[in-house]
Structures are given as C-alpha cells and as structure tokens.
C-alpha cells in the first residue's frame, strides 16, 4: 500500500493545499484576531465580551441547552435504540429508515415545520385550547423550549444511530447472562449495557453536544432575537453590529469547546480499554 510514498504525497497534495489555504489559514487569522486589539496581543476582547451581561447570559444558555439536549437525547436514545435492536429484521429496517429520513430533509425546512406546529394558531395550541387544557394559546415559539424541541429533533438521529450500532456489537447473551446471575434490569443497564455501549454514547454525545452548540438555523428561527445562542449572537455581532472582535471571541469559544468536548469524551471512551 505504501510502496510508492511519493505518489501518495502527490495524491494528497491538492486536498491538503485546499484545506490549508481555504480553511486552516483563515481560521488561524480569525483566532489570532480574537487576541489582538490594535497592534498588541491582549485578552481585552475576552474581558470586554464577558463584561456584558447579555453575552454571559447567551454563553450560559448555549451550554445549558447543549447539555440538556445531549442528556435528553441520550436517555430517549437508549430506549429507542434498544427497541430497534430488539425488533425483528423487517421492522428494524423500517425503524432505522424512519430515523434517518429527517437527516435527508433540509434543517431549514424542518425548522419551519416547527413554526407551523408550535405557533399561536399552530397544531399544539389548537389542540390544547380545544380540549380545554389552556384558555389562551401558550407562547411556545421564541422560547428556550422551542429551541430545545427543534434541537432535539435535529440531532436525535445522531445519538440513536451510534447507540444502535454499539448495542448490536455487544456480545450475544451478555444481558441474559447478567439476568440469570441475579441482575435487576437497572443493574443490567448500568453494569453491562452502559459500559459496553460507552463508545456509541460518546460518539453520539459529541455529535449532539457540538451540533447543539454550533447550530444556527434552529435557534435563529425558533428562538429569534429573544433566545440568542452563541451562533446567532455571532451572526448578529458581525452583520448587525460589525463587531468583529466579539465575533472572533465567540468563534474561539465555539472551536475550543468542540475540541475540548471531543478530547474529554474520547478519554471517557477509552477508559474501559485500559489505555
């Protein structure tokens, strides 16, 4: 395979060059910009950014929502993934297709559908008022709840699919073996299933968490300017306020978080291999 190293390097060169010029260099310039004020290297940009209550609020909200979305999709994800794995081969195919289908629809279209469902005269409010659960329509749109619902729907498949594959890769009969040795379903989950599917959880968790932090369309449409997230704030700083310093700071935070999350979760995943 490596018989001809030179050819290998040659074949890699165009892609490498493209990534270097088109991605890495601009990102480095951007990141550098976050640490510069005038002509000096400084942390002023960060101090200014976190000095404003609104920015702090957006920062905290973004992480809170990211964590909640990740946790909730993990909990529901295990349930769904186990049901899919237990299902017969025929219904398994159908269930997986149903899970994957939303991934093939544009996030913009999917998010607009939520406007229809969650709006003042949308499906949910009409249903709630007509059965008399509420007198006036609830305000769901442009709240954290709406963003939460949108994000869950957007990223749920990315949690379930890795969980399904790691559940399917569990050795046969370990669950019945644990049952017969006296494990309650609770113990079976925490002592056998969870440790053996940790890698799937880590992959799914990373995708959902980083995805939630960096989603733009969903918070923009369902949260609007009332529920700003780091991404929507970033866009506002650049296109409305022309404030590139804050924008660069947000970009650094987002990139750093993505990398940190990945490193942290990778370490968690490798614990059981003893590496």
């Amino acid at each position: 395979m490596f018989a001809n190293r030179r050819l290998g390097i040659l074949l890699l060169a165009p892609a490498t060059l493209f990534v270097l010029v088109g991605f890495i260099i601009p990102v480095l310039i951007l990141l550098a910009g976050a640490f510069r004020s005038g002509d000096t290297w400084t942390l002023t940009n960060y101090i200014d950014f976190f000095g404003q209550p609104l920015n702090r609020e957006v920062f905290v909200r973004t992480f809170r929502l990211g964590l909640i979305v990740t946790a909730v999709s993990a909990v529901i994800g295990y349930g769904v993934a186990m049901a899919v794995v237990e299902a017969g081969p025929k219904s398994k195919g159908r269930l997986v297709a149903m899970l994957v289908l939303p991934l093939m629809i544009s996030p913009v279209a999917r998010t607009y559908a939520w406007l229809v469902i969650l709006g003042r005269t949308g499906f949910v409010n009409v249903a709630l008022t007509s059965i008399g659960l509420t007198d006036a329509p609830l305000r769901i749109l442009f709240t954290e709840t709406a963003v939460f619902i949108g994000l869950i729907q957007l990223f749920f498949p990315l949690m379930v699919l890795p969980l399904i594959s790691s559940l399917e890769n569990m050795p046969r009969d370990v669950v019945p073996a644990a049952r017969v040795l006296g494990a309650s379903w609770f113990s079976v989950f925490f002592k056998v299933i969870l440790p053996l599917t940790r890698e799937g959880l880590v992959v799914g968790g990373t995708l959902v968490f980083v995805g939630s932090l960096t989603a733009y369309v969903t918070p923009a449409i369902l949260g609007g300017s009332k529920v700003l997230m780091l991404e929507t704030l970033l866009y506002q700083r650049v296109s409305v306020a022309n404030d590139f310093a804050s924008a660069a700071v947000i970009a650094v935070i987002l990139i750093a978080m993505s990398i940190l999350t990945n490193m942290l979760l990778k370490r968690l995943a490798s614990v059981r291999r003893g590496r």
Partner: protein
C-alpha cells in the same frame, strides 16, 4: 425419583404457527445430571431458556425445589446458566466476571475474594484472575463461564451446548472436568446437547427431544440399547433403520423372527452379517476406518451400512454380495 425440578405441560412459543415446545412433562431429582438431547430446532434450548426465566411459557408450570417459579423473573430464580457463547462480560476481568453475581447479592468483599479464589482454583484458572476475557483461549473462557455460574451456588445449573465451540481434544478434557465438578459439588444439572456421545458419557438420564416433544426418556443404557423409535435409533448410531408394515420389511423377505406389533427394526453396522445370508446387495461404497472397513450396500430394502474386519478379504465396488439381517443385534422399535 423426587421432583426437584418439574415441568408440567409446558408449552413455549416464539409466535410462529406451531409452538417450539408443546406439553412438555418431565421431572428430575436433586443432584441428578439430565441431558436434553436432540437435533437443532427440537426445542431443547428453548426449554432451557424457559427454565432459566428468559422466556415466558404460553402455558404450563415450572416447579423448582417445591416452589412454583413459572412467573418468577430470571434474576430471582436461583437458576444458573452457562451459555454456548460463554457470554463473558468483555469489560470485566476474569475475577470480576466471576464476582459479578456475588457483588449483585451484596456479599461482603472479603467473602467475595475467598469464594472467587476458591472457584477459580477448582477450575484451574487462579493464575489468570487478572486477565481480560479476550486474552483467554476458548477452553479457558468456558471455565470462567462455568466458574461464574457455580460461584453463586444456584439450585440448578443449566448448560447450553457448553462444549460445542471447543476442539475435539479439549471437549473430552472439559467433559471429564464437568463430570468431576458435578461429582464434587453435587449440583443438579440440565445439560443441553446434540452430541449423543456427550450425553451418554455425562448424564444420569437422557431425554431425547424431537420437534418440541419428548421422544424418549431413560438411562443412557435404555436409550442406547432400547431406542423406541427410528428417530432415536438414528440418533444413537443405528445406521440401518427400517419401517415394518404388518411385521414385514418392504422389498425383501420378512425377517425370520417375531416382530410383534413393532413399527420399525434397526441394526448397527456391525450387526449386519456379510458374505452369507438370504439377501443380496451391491457394494456401492467402502471406507477404511482402521480396525474395520465399512461397506455401503445398495439393496432392495434401501442402502445398508455393514462392517467387516479390516483383516477380512475386501469386497470390490460393484460386487454383488450376500448378507443377512439376523435376529441377534436387531432392535425392534415401537414407533416409526
């Protein structure tokens, strides 16, 4: 025979048109080793999973040690199970695999250490306690699975084809080890297998299953020497099994002995007399098996397997040869 384990009209189904097991009745005594023997798909593994509580019966009851356990969940039955795939926990060391059941039962740490060490010693794995399961050979994994099941002292231990993934030599070694453990510990065991030699060597009693029903139950001697049906006879190494119609064999003269109401008759290859007799067949196959040569004869009755000492003159392929199916060595079968 006491009823330590008793299955009463047990019917099990995977939801298909015919149940996997139908109206199964059987009981066994304490410290007995019973083998469930049968081809794949006969319902033996299904029966065992139901006894372990991994499958709900459609109807019928399971009683263990005078307690109805039909509705008791798997983790509260006190029934151990050694899986064909061993099903060791890959994320736990050998020690922790064996300690798994004891930890769940909240046994104190010092006692866990003592009991796990003792059981690992008895299966000869003390030196591997710190290893991970994937670092072990098949035979060693098998021993861990066994140790893990017996350390919790189940009332009943079920073994599902425990030796089928091992090579021939290791299988013999594990077989005698199982026999030794059963002898030492006096565990009541149900042993599921499709290997008649294993069943004969290990079991106090054998239950031959076919299509979800018991075909024959008895001591190894009963089953081996007095099979009740062509099915059991085939399974027990009778190569020549024939149906009888009104006491007659189809295609050749009636046997020269009283067949009574038997529905079938069978001979082992060594019981067929070659070179003399009232019948004639053509040699269509010959295999040298060391001490004997096994011939396959084409006869009006069907193909017949016969053995002759390797020292006797050989019969050539295509040669017509006289043979006899004598009364000595014939086994009458009650059912087809």
């Amino acid at each position: 025979m006491s009823d330590f384990l008793k299955l009463d009209k047990l019917t099990l189904s995977y939801g298909g048109p015919t149940p996997a097991v139908e109206n199964l009745d059987f009981s066994m005594g304490k410290s007995e080793l019973v083998a469930l023997l049968g081809p794949s798909g006969c319902g033996k593994t299904t029966t065992m999973r139901a006894v372990a509580g991994l499958m709900k019966p459609v109807s019928g009851t399971i009683t263990l040690d005078e307690r109805d356990i039909t509705r008791v969940s798997a983790n509260k039955r006190g029934v151990g199970l050694v899986f064909q795939s061993y099903a060791l926990f890959p994320h736990l060391s050998v020690f922790e695999n064996v300690a798994f059941g004891l930890r769940l039962a909240r046994v104190p740490g010092a006692e866990i250490k003592r009991r796990v060490d003792a059981v690992l010693a008895s299966v000869g794995l003390s030196h591997l306690a710190a290893r991970q399961p994937r670092e072990l050979s098949g035979g060693q994994q098998q021993r861990v699975a066994l140790a893990r099941s017996i350390v919790v002292e189940p009332k009943l231990l079920l073994l599902d084809e425990p030796l089928s993934n091992l090579d021939a030599r290791l299988r013999l070694e594990m077989r005698s080890e199982l026999a030794r453990l059963q002898d030492e510990l006096g565990i009541t065991m149900v042993y599921v297998t499709h290997d008649q030699a294993e069943a004969l060597a290990l079991a106090d009693r054998i239950i031959v299953m076919r299509e979800g029903r018991i075909e024959q139950a008895g001591t190894p001697e009963d089953i081996y020497e007095r099979p009740v049906s062509i099915f059991v006879a085939n399974f027990m190494g009778f190569e020549n099994c024939f149906e009888l119609t009104d006491g007659k064999l189809k295609g050749i003269a009636a046997p020269s002995f009283e067949t009574g109401s038997a529905a079938g008759v069978a001979w082992r290859p060594h019981a067929v007399v070659l070179g003399q007799g009232p019948h004639t067949g053509t040699v269509i196959g010959a295999s040298y098996l060391g001490p004997v040569v096994e011939y396959l004869l084409s006869t009006p009755l069907g193909d017949i397997k016969a053995e002759a000492p390797a020292s006797a003159p050989r019969h050539a392929m295509g040669q017509a040869i006289a043979f006899d199916l004598p009364q000595a060595g014939a086994v009458l079968l009650a059912r087809p």
